[in-house]
């Protein structure tokens, strides 16, 4: 009897680990026509762990003090062994995480996987998207660069557009009338503690809902593509004759993660400055305002929408309405059909919306 078997036996007689493995890994069956888009969630989980690890490493030298923050980031980039690599991984990782998150949401959207009984999966996923945007925005301020300072100034200033409470909200967000040391303090707390804890909790909820409902069957290559769930009693979507999660789909997940890592490392090593502007490496100066401040690429559509409308409140309301519509989509689109080609209205709206978002982003970038 090998040593490994002895150890496994020892554990098994105490906590029944073989039963867990059988139930959750080798006996956990997935649809036979499962595709690569189902790996996006695993990539996201991996990317989140990567962000947590690199973030923790950055915390060793980062100083959340307005007088020292920029210097500490410069120190990390120039003097800490492999500090540049850790910082670039963190910065590039945050951007690629948003890319994968968008792919994940688009695949769920086009395969109709948000439909009942998976409304809660969609809603938790949507809140996760908002929280990832929030963590990116708060992280933007931490290097205390010109870009950080002024982007946060205009970002927080926009709350002024909200009637009555606007000015109070701006001061609440900043912790002072202007962006300054109190803003850095609260954004730091949000970035390293509050939002990550929220994201971790929501990932837990998201996975719990996934476990309870079962993995949805892709509508492709099937005769019957309508949703079979009647909404009367709880039922777990089983996949008899499906492929086991381990080793089959676990290997597919790992392969997708390896491809993600190859792309991620290519950006980190060859063009990590793709996501930086020259203002990112100039210390914050409240007395020198850069000529044009633009947000991260995934906020460019919002940025351009606000520029189109003369009144900021109209722009904000319109965006709020669009986001609310998207968040509540499973409660609005209640038809049983899941195949995108059998849902022409949905397909037209989804592609139109996607093109509009891309168009506004490009316009925002070029404007």
């Amino acid at each position: 009897m090998s040593l490994i078997k002895k150890v496994v036996d020892w554990i098994d007689v105490r906590i029944g680990v073989r039963e867990v493995v059988e139930k959750e890994l080798t006996g956990y069956l997935l649809p036979r026509n499962i595709n690569v888009w189902y790996s996006m969630g695993s990539i996201l989980l991996f990317a989140f762990v990567l962000q947590v690890v690199t973030g923790m490493l950055l915390l060793i030298h980062y100083v959340p003090d307005a007088d020292k923050a920029f210097k500490s980031v410069t120190f990390i980039m120039n003097d800490v062994p492999f500090g540049w690599l850790i910082r670039m991984c963190h910065a590039v990782g945050s951007n690629l995480m948003v890319v994968v998150l968008l792919f994940h949401m688009l695949s769920v959207l086009f395969m109709g996987s948000y439909k009942k009984p998976r409304e809660m999966n969609w809603v938790t996923g949507f809140i996760l998207l908002s929280m990832v945007q929030g963590i990116s925005l708060t992280g933007y301020l931490l290097p205390w660069s010109q870009l950080s300072f002024w982007a946060t100034t205009v970002a927080t200033n926009s709350a002024n557009a909200i009637p009555v409470v606007g000015p109070h909200l701006v001061e609440f967000l900043r912790g002072s009338p202007l962006v300054g040391p109190p803003t850095l303090g609260r954004f730091f707390a949000l970035h390293v503690a509050v939002i990550p804890a929220g994201i971790a909790a929501l990932i837990g909820a998201h996975l719990f809902f996934l476990k309870r409902t079962g993995v949805s069957t892709p509508p492709f290559g099937q005769k019957e593509t309508a949703n079979q769930w009647q909404g009367e009693v709880y039922s777990y979507e089983q996949h008899p004759g499906g492929i086991p999660f381990f080793p089959d789909f676990a290997l597919e997940d790992l392969r997708s993660i390896a491809i993600f890592m190859a792309i991620f490392l290519a950006v980190v090593f060859f063009d990590p400055y793709l996501f930086f502007t020259k203002d990112s490496f100039i210390p914050a100066n409240p007395f020198v305002t850069p000529a044009h401040i633009k947000p991260e690429w995934y906020f460019l559509a919002n940025y351009q929408t606000l520029k189109i409308f003369p009144n900021e409140l109209i722009g904000l309301s319109l965006q709020g309405a669009a986001m609310t519509f998207l968040a509540l989509l499973p409660f609005i689109d209640r038809g049983p059909e899941r195949h995108p080609l059998k849902r022409p209205l949905f397909l037209a709206c989804a592609i139109g919306g996607l093109l509009l978002w891309i168009g506004l982003s490009v316009w925002g970038h070029l404007s």
Partner: protein
């Protein structure tokens, strides 16, 4: 409460929670539409007839604009209060008389003013000699580069013969400074700590600029050689940085290839389970 009511309440609860979440997330994402406000001097003068708006147009292309030195940096006044922007009690100075121009510019460019006053040009101040703006421009203030010493400009007052000798002696050093400045700028743009290098180049460039107002050709040649030796020391540091970035790219290529190989291996392994 019926099952339907429970569902309706749950939906309402979800909507409320989501709207709260969206209100929290959306404003920051949306607010970037604002752009930085310029001093009131620029806002107001830009709207005026050409005589008054021309300084703004010229200034936009100047080295001052490039470095964030606005109107009030030279002319004083209050850049945030339109009503008092040109109020002398707020430090407004207006345009200096010709004889006062070196002192006007010399409030910031102290060393250059000293060099100018000691030069042949400076000694002719008030007697028809050139002031700072004669060569460096007015509002469209040009960066102090060797190109300022040119036949067209110098011939306005005297022959270009001696100026040409000085110009040629300084040409190589100038080219080195421009190249090094560009390399430092490129490293700075990608987050490299260039503070020390910038300070060193600043000191060397200042020494070089003191020669601009000098007319002793031999002294200019001697000093240029010494300055070039100092510039080469900065080049060595920059070469090391280039080398380090090259090594990073090689490591990157290895890491990316390794990941692609792992992906291929996992793909093949997965195929064995089909």
């Amino acid at each position: 409460m019926s099952y339907r009511d429970t569902i309706m309440n749950l939906r309402a609860l979800f909507c409320a929670a989501l709207i709260c979440a969206l209100v929290t997330v959306l404003p920051p994402s949306a607010a970037f539409a604002q752009e930085a406000a310029e001093p009131v001097c620029i806002q107001c003068h830009s709207q005026l007839p050409e005589k008054y708006s021309r300084p703004v147009t010229l200034w936009r292309g100047s080295i001052h604009a490039e470095n964030g030195i606005y109107c009030n940096g030279c002319h004083g006044g209050d850049p945030k209060d339109a009503a008092n922007a040109m109020n002398p009690t707020r430090g407004f100075l207006g345009a200096p008389k010709e004889i006062a121009i070196p002192a006007f510019c010399g409030r910031c460019h102290v060393g250059v003013m000293k060099d100018y006053l000691a030069s042949a040009h400076g000694r002719m101040l008030g007697k028809g000699g050139p002031t700072c703006v004669t060569c460096h421009g007015n509002h469209l203030v040009e960066k102090a580069l060797l190109g300022l010493i040119n036949e067209k400009s110098c011939s306005r007052c005297h022959s270009f013969e001696r100026a040409r000798l000085i110009h040629d002696a300084m040409k190589e050093t100038e080219a080195m400074i421009v190249a090094i400045d560009g390399r430092i700028g490129a490293f700075k743009k990608i987050g490299t700590d260039t503070d020390k290098l910038e300070k060193e180049l600043f000191a060397v460039r200042n020494r070089f600029h003191t020669l601009f107002h000098n007319v002793d050709v031999e002294l200019v040649k001697r000093e240029s050689t010494q300055i070039q030796a100092d510039l080469k020391k900065i080049q060595v540091v920059l070469d090391k940085l280039d080398d380090s970035h090259r090594k990073r790219r090689i490591s990157g290529a290895a890491a990316v290839s390794f990941m692609l190989l792992i992906a291929l291996a996992l793909h093949l392994l997965r195929k064995t389970f089909d």
